[in-house]
Symmetry: C2
Subunit: 451 residues, 2 copies
């Protein structure tokens, strides 16, 4: 079954004419994407990634995948933001959040270079101790501070452990086709490279080698993911809202926002989807959070978080709506046998699969939250397969692009990310930032002597 | 150094007279707590947990801790909400989010019974395979569905693996002193029990055996945690805001809320604090999210999330403020050696510790977000020691109680958590819920045939 968007539960919040009235704006947003005439139109490569990865690049990637699987115990993926969230989300979704801890025939995978914490860096080095290591460093420019610093450290480790020649076989660089310090380092040292296309931004790069290489190393079928993406490219280009859940979702989240909802909570009932929530938060937060606009993207895992944030959702400030991501089938079910003693009185739950109980928790929560005045819509997918994953990711991407145009922003830039970087560089004394350094230090001094 | 609240960066957002004007309301909230006359006054036991755990209970807990450490490879902690978030937050903070994966002399610890996902349950069983297992089941009543179901499964595993007699040594129940199905099961079967006091709610229970037993098994010094809590009980009872950062924090978050901020983001620059963010989200969300009120509690880990949600914070909807939790010293630092080739141009960062770079990232981000119109305050603590942790937890608890009274809610109940449970029980056919079952099923049918 293809992905379905169930909007039946919204009847108390949105009238059907409201969706009709959105049609012209949707058609216009659609046209901006199709004609590539909207803001950010240099970054629309993600629209066709299902079938635009060069076959020889894919073949090389598979060859490297086999080499890595055969010759290493742990793959260290170095990247931040869009350079790791998609692969980590995929790994959890398709395999497991316990992937490293569980027995398996593929290498462990750890994600580093996404923090400046010395404790985290020291621990990632400890995790590699005594193991056969490969690196996949992912950075368009090679100068993103967090990733570049980690790469320095891990590259030195590789050279120490395997020598300059041996390191060549074990360091894989996913970077720009021609420019940047990582590309030139790779060329100089002879490290194999995979290309991040110029017209694909970080948060839209899951279907490029950025996501595909680590996903393949984990033993997942990247061809199936790309096929699902290709199919989704067609489905999610229809202007008929009943045929196109992506556009319908984009329209509804904008309508709910216009009615005063400030927060969208992406909910699932499966811990393996928690990292997908983190990926979603970047995709929507970075695409829409600009010009003083945007829904705040948040995520929860139920029923876990019903025992922490459930109270707020049910009875707190009425400022959010929920988008529930519901999976029909678990990877494997668990049969609940009855307990002859029944101390806990839970035998009424027995003689059925746990997934059935989880499904009733979902329906019970849905009704409770509707009763509490919280709009809910439900994205329904079959399972945690590559096919479902590829479709789901493209669904969110396409919906995000259209949603951003409906909101009136450029969904493909991220000017605000530079602000902290510039300040950090200046405070760290990066050459060329001398005057900014003085200015910022003065500001800090003034602030700290204000009282 | 004791915990410090730095509010110097708020000068553009809050005038000093505003804090003065809050003094009477703070004094009144303080009095409600001291006199135990406010709403929820049956649940104030947490105010004195630093020194009110019975010495014999603590001694028994330490004895059990040693037994568990000597006789098991993995401790399975079964609990949901307040029955696991505090211990998990402590484990990450005091030891590491990579605790299980890193070499150590104490047992692995996994947290189960906090979801209804069959995949998660199957995997937690797989993680125990071939290992010496102990259980710590944590539930006041013993009938909380998620935890009770998991306990059924793991208890059966224990009996199968160790026999009824052997299981007695390996199952530790943290529950009510006298009532409830878990207590009666434990008494019948001869499992040792530890008491959750009647006057301490789940989210305030970290300093009871709920948090202390798992924390002790991980090798942390629970006496040091309790001493810090005892000291904090005194510090955070002063009505002088300059002496009492907890009350000042409570006042400021209410002021910012009244000025239109809907979301508080708890920020840290250390991945080991991510779970503390989850604990904080329950504490504040469940305490304040009621009667249509409350700040939405959210959390981020920087610089990681500056590359995902940073754009939103910097330039998106101006609806949030940040509370930064800043740690002066890492567990161990990392010295950045210069790279003679300097391909990435990052030598300007070399010849210093990574923590210094992380600190500049913090300052640079602070200035950038202030410039973006986002109020920031900073909670400063020394390190990731037991002392700092005990003080920090009590800081948040005390501030939460006062903040809830300032907001005008009962910070100690959670009536909204029942709504989903009632519906779920009815849909699952629990005896006694027959009429509700029919009503809910009719509602679902009506909703799904609406269009």
């Amino acid at each position: 079954m293809p992905l379905k968007l169930n909007t039946l539960y919204l009847s108390d919040f949105i009238s059907s004419h409201e969706l009709d009235y959105m049609a012209p704006a949707l058609a216009s947003a659609h046209k901006l994407l199709e004609d590539k005439t909207g803001p950010g139109n240099d970054f629309l490569g993600w629209l066709s990634l299902g079938n635009s990865n060069p076959p020889d690049e894919l073949a090389r990637m598979k060859e490297s995948t086999r080499w890595i699987q055969d010759n290493c115990d742990i793959l260290v993926v170095i990247g931040i933001g869009g350079s790791y969230l998609g692969a980590k989300a995929a790994l959890d979704f398709l395999r497991s959040p316990n992937y490293n801890a569980l027995p398996k025939s593929t290498p462990d995978i750890i994600f580093v270079g996404n923090t400046l914490s010395p404790d985290a860096l020291n621990e990632s080095l400890a995790l590699c101790k005594g193991k056969r290591v490969c690196l996949n460093v992912i950075s368009k420019s090679g100068t993103t501070t967090e990733a570049a610093l980690a790469f320095r450290v891990f590259r030195a480790l590789m050279v120490e452990q395997y020598g300059k020649e041996g390191a060549k076989d074990r360091i894989f660089c996913t970077t720009d086709a021609a420019r940047g310090s990582l590309k030139s380092l790779a060329d100089t040292k002879g490290y194999p490279t995979f290309v991040i296309p110029d017209d694909v931004g970080g948060r839209f790069s899951l279907f490029t080698p950025v996501g595909l290489l680590p996903i393949a190393v984990a033993g997942c079928d990247i061809d199936a993911i790309l096929s699902a993406c290709t199919a989704a490219q067609k489905t999610f280009a229809s202007l008929d809202l009943e045929q196109n859940p992506a556009y319908k979702y984009a329209a509804i989240r904008n309508l709910l926002h216009r009615k005063g909802r400030m927060i969208e909570v992406l909910v699932s009932y499966e811990p393996a989807l928690t990292m997908l929530g983190e990926w979603y938060k970047q995709l929507y937060g970075e695409s829409e959070g600009k010009d003083g606009k945007g829904l705040y993207p948040s995520s929860m895992c139920f029923s876990t978080d019903l025992h922490s944030l459930g109270q707020f959702v049910q009875e707190g400030s009425n400022i959010l709506f929920e988008t529930v991501l519901q999976i029909a089938k678990p990877q494997a079910d668990f049969f609940l046998a009855p307990d002859s003693e029944n101390f806990d009185g839970l035998n009424f739950l027995a003689d059925q699969n746990l997934s059935a109980v989880n499904q009733k928790a979902f329906l019970g929560t849905l009704l409770a939250h509707l009763e509490g005045g919280v709009p809910n819509m439900v994205i329904e997918i079959d399972d945690r397969s590559e096919k479902s994953f590829g479709e789901l990711i493209f669904f969110f991407e396409k919906a995000c692009a259209v949603s951003g145009y409906l909101l009136g922003v450029n969904p493909f830039d991220q000017p605000g990310v530079e602000a902290y970087k510039k300040n950090m560089f200046a405070l760290l004394g990066k050459p060329g930032f001398e005057s900014a350094k003085k200015e910022l230090e003065d500001k800090l001094l003034k602030l700290s002597s204000a009282q």
